[in-house]
C-alpha cells in the first residue's frame, strides 16, 4: 500500500475557503425565500442550465487538480515513510498514462509518426532520414496504415460508452419521477433541465471518446518537449479558474468595506476613499500589473532560497498575480457599491434604524450590506470571464503566471513562435483557444442570466 502526504498550497487553501463560502451561501439561500426567488429565475433559463453543466465540469476538473499530495517513495532507516519532493494532484493520478506517454518533440493529433525528420538506423545497416514512429502514439498498431480504421472503431466505442453512461444516469435520476421519463420529457416546466441533460450527453460522449482514444493516441498532439497537449489543457483549467475566482475573492473584503463606508458616512471618509480609488483606477491596469509583477520577479530572484520548491514558488506567484489583478479591479465594484449605498441610506428603514439609535456598525451590517450583496454577486460573475481572458494576455507579455505553471496563456505563448513553421504547428494554440473559449462562453452566458435575474437595471459597464 503506497502512502501519501497531503500538501496544501497557498492557492489550495484559498480554494477550499471559497468552496466552504459557496456552500455556506447556498445553505443560507435555501432557507430564505426572498433569496431563492432570483435563483429560481436563473434555474428557469435554458441557457443558464446548459452553461452551468459546462462550468460544473470545469470546476470538477479544477478541484481534482487542487487535491495535492506527495506520493510515498520508500522508507527510511527507521521505517518512516519518505515522500517524493514532487507535488502531484489527483488529476495527475487519473491522467497517469497521459503524463507517462512522453514523446521526443512535436507530433500532430492522432499521429503515429513524429513531426520532424530524424536519421534512423536501419536494421540491416545504413541510415535513412524519415519521420520516426512515435514511442506511444498509435504504438499498439502493428501497421500504421490501419490507423483510420482503428480510430473509427475506438470512436464508435467511445460514443457508445458515453451514450450508455448517459442513459444509465438519466434512468437513475428519473427513477422516482412521478409518471416516469415520459412525463418528465413532456413537461414544459422541465425544458431547462432537458437542455442541461443534452449538454450532459455531449460531455459524457466526449468523456467516452477521451477514455477510448487518449490512452493510445495523443488526441491533441504533443508539444515541443513531447508533452501531451490534452494533458496540458486539462492542467490549465485550474489556473484559469483560480485567476477567475480567487482574484475577486481577495478583492471583495476591501471593495465591500470601503464602498459601503464611503456611501454611508459621506464627508471626509467618502473623500479619502474616492481619492484612493480614483488614483488606482487612473493608472492603466496593464502597466500597474506589469510594474508589480516586475517588482515581484526581482524579489523572487534575489530571495530564491526562501521557497521550498518550484511548485510552491509558482503557486505563490499565481496567488500574487491574483492579488495584483484584484487591486486593479476592485475600484469599479467599490464605485458601484458606493452609489448604491448612497441611495439606500436615504430609505426609510435605514433612517428608522438611525432614529432608534442603532449603531453605525449594526446598521451597515444588518441594513446596508444584505441589500447590496446582489451587486457583489453580479460583479463577481461578470468579472470571471474577463479575468480568464486576461490571464492569457498577461502571460503573453511575460507578466502572467510562472512559466512553469500550466496555463492557456503559457500554451499560446510558447506555441505562437511555431506558426512560422511549414506545415504549421497549430494544435497547441487550437487546444488552448478551444478550452478557453468553451469556459468563457459558458461563463458569459451564465453571467447574463444571473444579471438579468438579480438586477436587470444594472447594465454592464462597457
Amino acid at each position: 500500500m503506497m502512502g501519501f502526504q497531503p500538501v496544501i498550497l497557498a492557492t489550495d487553501a484559498l480554494i477550499y475557503l471559497l468552496v466552504i463560502l459557496a456552500l455556506a451561501f447556498a445553505w443560507y439561500t435555501r432557507r430564505h425565500a426572498h433569496l431563492r426567488a432570483p435563483w429560481r429565475r436563473v434555474a428557469a433559463s435554458r441557457t443558464a442550465m446548459g452553461a452551468l453543466v459546462v462550468i460544473a465540469v470545469y470546476v470538477v476538473i479544477g478541484l481534482l487538480d487542487t487535491l495535492h499530495f506527495r506520493p510515498a517513495s520508500g522508507e527510511d532507516a527507521q521505517g518512516h515513510a519518505r515522500y517524493a519532493s514532487e507535488v502531484q494532484s489527483v488529476l495527475d493520478l487519473l491522467a497517469t498514462p497521459l503524463v507517462a506517454h512522453r514523446e521526443k518533440t512535436y507530433s500532430a493529433p492522432f499521429a503515429t509518426h513524429l513531426y520532424t525528420r530524424e536519421t534512423i538506423e536501419l536494421p540491416g545497416g545504413g541510415q535513412v532520414r524519415d519521420f520516426p514512429r512515435l514511442k506511444w502514439g498509435g504504438a499498439h498498431l502493428g501497421d500504421p496504415a490501419r490507423r483510420a480504421g482503428d480510430i473509427a472503431w475506438r470512436s464508435a466505442a467511445g460514443v457508445a460508452l458515453g451514450a450508455a453512461a448517459w442513459l444509465l444516469w438519466m434512468a437513475l435520476a428519473l427513477r422516482r419521477h412521478p409518471g416516469g421519463w415520459r412525463a418528465w420529457w413532456a413537461d414544459p416546466g422541465r425544458a431547462p433541465m432537458r437542455t442541461a441533460a443534452w449538454v450532459w450527453l455531449v460531455v459524457l460522449i466526449l468523456a467516452g471518446l477521451v477514455l477510448t482514444l487518449a490512452g493510445v493516441y495523443h488526441i491533441l498532439g504533443t508539444d515541443k518537449v513531447g508533452e501531451d497537449v490534452f494533458y496540458q489543457s486539462l492542467k490549465s483549467i485550474r489556473t484559469g479558474l483560480v485567476i477567475g475566482t480567487l482574484t475577486t475573492l481577495v478583492m471583495l473584503p476591501a471593495a465591500i468595506l470601503l464602498g459601503i463606508m464611503a456611501g454611508y458616512f459621506r464627508g471626509w471618509v467618502d473623500d479619502v476613499i474616492q481619492y484612493l480609488y480614483t488614483t488606482l483606477s487612473s493608472v492603466p491596469g496593464v502597466l500597474l500589473i506589469a510594474a508589480a509583477v516586475l517588482m515581484m520577479q526581482i524579489y523572487m530572484n534575489n530571495h530564491q532560497d526562501e521557497f521550498n520548491s518550484l511548485t510552491e514558488r509558482a503557486d505563490l506567484r499565481l496567488l500574487f498575480l491574483c492579488v495584483i489583478l484584484g487591486v486593479t479591479s476592485w475600484t469599479s465594484l467599490c464605485r458601484l457599491l458606493r452609489g448604491e449605498t448612497l441611495k439606500l441610506r436615504q430609505l426609510e428603514y435605514v433612517q428608522a434604524a438611525q432614529a432608534f439609535g442603532v449603531g453605525h456598525f449594526t446598521t451597515l451590517m444588518r441594513h446596508i450590506l444584505p441589500n447590496v450583496m446582489h451587486i457583489v454577486l453580479i460583479v463577481v460573475v461578470l468579472d470571471f470571464s474577463g479575468l480568464v481572458l486576461a490571464e492569457a494576455v498577461l502571460s503573453y507579455i511575460n507578466i502572467g503566471v510562472d512559466p512553469n505553471t500550466n496555463s492557456w496563456g503559457n500554451m499560446i505563448n510558447s506555441a505562437r513562435l511555431e506558426l512560422a513553421r511549414e506545415p504549421v504547428v497549430w494544435w497547441s494554440l487550437a487546444a488552448a483557444f478551444v478550452f478557453m473559449f468553451v469556459l468563457v462562453l459558458a461563463a458569459n452566458l451564465f453571467a447574463d442570466v444571473v444579471r438579468d435575474a438579480f438586477d436587470p437595471r444594472l447594465r454592464e459597464r462597457s
Partner: protein
C-alpha cells in the same frame, strides 16, 4: 464652465501625486536600486563596484527622499524622488535605463500608435453602430436572437486568437497583406490594413451588444412611441429619434478613451511589429526597463484623467440638460 474646468484640473494634481507616490514606492522602496542592478547584471557573480557603476550611470545612487550631504534646497532636490518622480510633472521623462531619451522616443512613437488606434476607433464605431442598429431594427426576431448569440460568442474569444488567426488566415494563407512590419511612405496603408481589421473585428462582440442595449432602452421611451403614433416610418424613428439620443452615451464613451489612443494597443502593435507606444511599453516590460514603465504609468494616468474631464465637458455639449457645477 471655465471655473469647473480649472477646478477639475486642480483636482487632478493630488491624484497625479498619488500615482507618483505609488510608482515611487513600487519601484524604489519595495525593491532597492541595488536589487534592480543585481537583476540587470545577473544575480550571482556581480561585484559591488559594478552595482555602484550601474546605479551611478542611471542616477539611482542618490538618497531616496532626503539628502543629508546636500546644502539648502538640495536636501530635497538632489534625491531619487525629486529626480525620477517629481520631474514627470514637467513631462521631463529623463533617460531610459538603456540610456535613451524617453521624451524623444515617445514623441516619435506616438504617430504609428495613432495611425492604428484612430482608424480602429472610427471604423469600429461605424461597424458597431450599424450592426447594433440592425439588431435593434429586427428586435425580437430570430435575426436579433442569433445576432446577440454571435456577439456573446465573439466576446468569448481571446483577443490573441483574433490576432493570430487573422495573421495566419489573411496574411499567410490568403497572402493578402504583409504579416507584420511598418512603413511611413505611400505604402504604409498595406501594413495598416491587417491590424486595423483585426482590431475592429475583435471589438465587435462587446461593442455591438452594449450599443444594442442602449438603442433598446431608447426605443421603449415615450417620445419614440409618440413619434410612431404621429405616423413616422420605422426607419425615420430609428435613425432620427432613437439614434440621435442613443448617441449621447456612445459618444461620451468614446471621448473617455480619446486621449488614451496615444498609448496605442499593446497586443496589436507588438504582434504586428508596429513601432508605436504600445510595443514600446511591452519591450520595456520584457527588457525590464523601469524608467520607461514609470514614464508610461504617469503618462497613462494623465491621459486617463484628461479623458474623464473631456467626457464631462462633452456631456454638456451633447446634452444641454446636463449642467456642470
Amino acid at each position: 464652465m471655465m471655473a469647473y474646468i480649472v477646478r477639475r484640473l486642480l483636482y487632478a494634481i493630488p491624484i497625479l501625486i498619488g500615482v507618483n507616490l505609488l510608482t515611487f514606492v513600487l519601484f524604489f522602496v519595495v525593491n532597492s536600486p541595488d536589487d534592480m542592478a543585481r537583476m540587470h547584471l545577473g544575480v550571482k557573480r556581480v561585484t559591488d563596484a559594478a552595482i555602484q557603476q550601474w546605479k551611478h550611470e542611471r542616477g539611482y545612487d542618490k538618497p531616496l527622499v532626503w539628502n543629508e550631504q546636500a546644502e539648502g534646497a538640495g536636501h530635497l532636490t538632489d534625491t531619487i524622488f525629486f529626480d525620477k518622480s517629481l520631474r514627470l510633472f514637467a513631462f521631463d521623462f529623463g533617460q531610459s535605463d538603456s540610456g535613451r531619451n524617453i521624451g524623444h522616443d515617445i514623441s516619435q512613437r506616438m504617430w504609428p500608435s495613432l495611425a492604428i488606434a484612430v482608424p480602429v476607433m472610427l471604423v469600429g464605431l461605424l461597424v458597431n453602430i450599424s450592426f447594433s442598429l440592425l439588431l435593434a431594427f429586427f428586435r425580437g426576431t430570430y435575426l436579433d436572437f442569433w445576432g446577440v448569440v454571435l456577439c456573446v460568442a465573439m466576446m468569448s474569444i481571446s483577443g490573441l486568437f483574433y490576432i493570430i488567426g487573422g495573421q495566419v488566415l489573411l496574411g499567410k494563407l490568403l497572402n493578402l497583406f504583409p504579416i507584420s512590419g511598418y512603413d511611413t511612405g505611400p505604402h504604409a496603408w498595406k501594413f495598416l490594413v491587417l491590424p486595423v481589421v483585426i482590431g475592429v473585428v475583435s471589438a465587435i462582440g462587446a461593442g455591438s451588444r452594449w450599443y444594442r442595449t442602449l438603442f433598446l432602452e431608447e426605443i421603449n421611451k415615450d417620445f419614440v412611441r409618440s413619434a410612431r403614433a404621429k405616423g413616422l416610418s420605422e426607419q425615420r424613428v430609428l435613425f432620427v429619434h432613437v439614434l440621435r439620443n442613443a448617441l449621447i452615451p456612445i459618444l461620451t464613451g468614446v471621448v473617455v478613451i480619446l486621449p488614451s489612443l496615444f498609448m496605442g494597443s499593446l497586443l496589436l502593435e507588438s504582434f504586428f511589429g508596429v513601432p508605436g507606444l504600445g510595443s514600446y511599453t511591452i519591450d520595456a516590460i520584457n527588457r525590464q526597463d523601469f524608467a520607461i514603465v514609470r514614464a508610461m504609468v504617469f503618462l497613462g494616468a494623465v491621459l486617463y484623467i484628461l479623458g474623464l474631464l473631456l467626457t464631462d465637458i462633452s456631456y454638456t455639449i451633447a446634452d444641454p440638460r446636463v449642467r456642470l457645477e
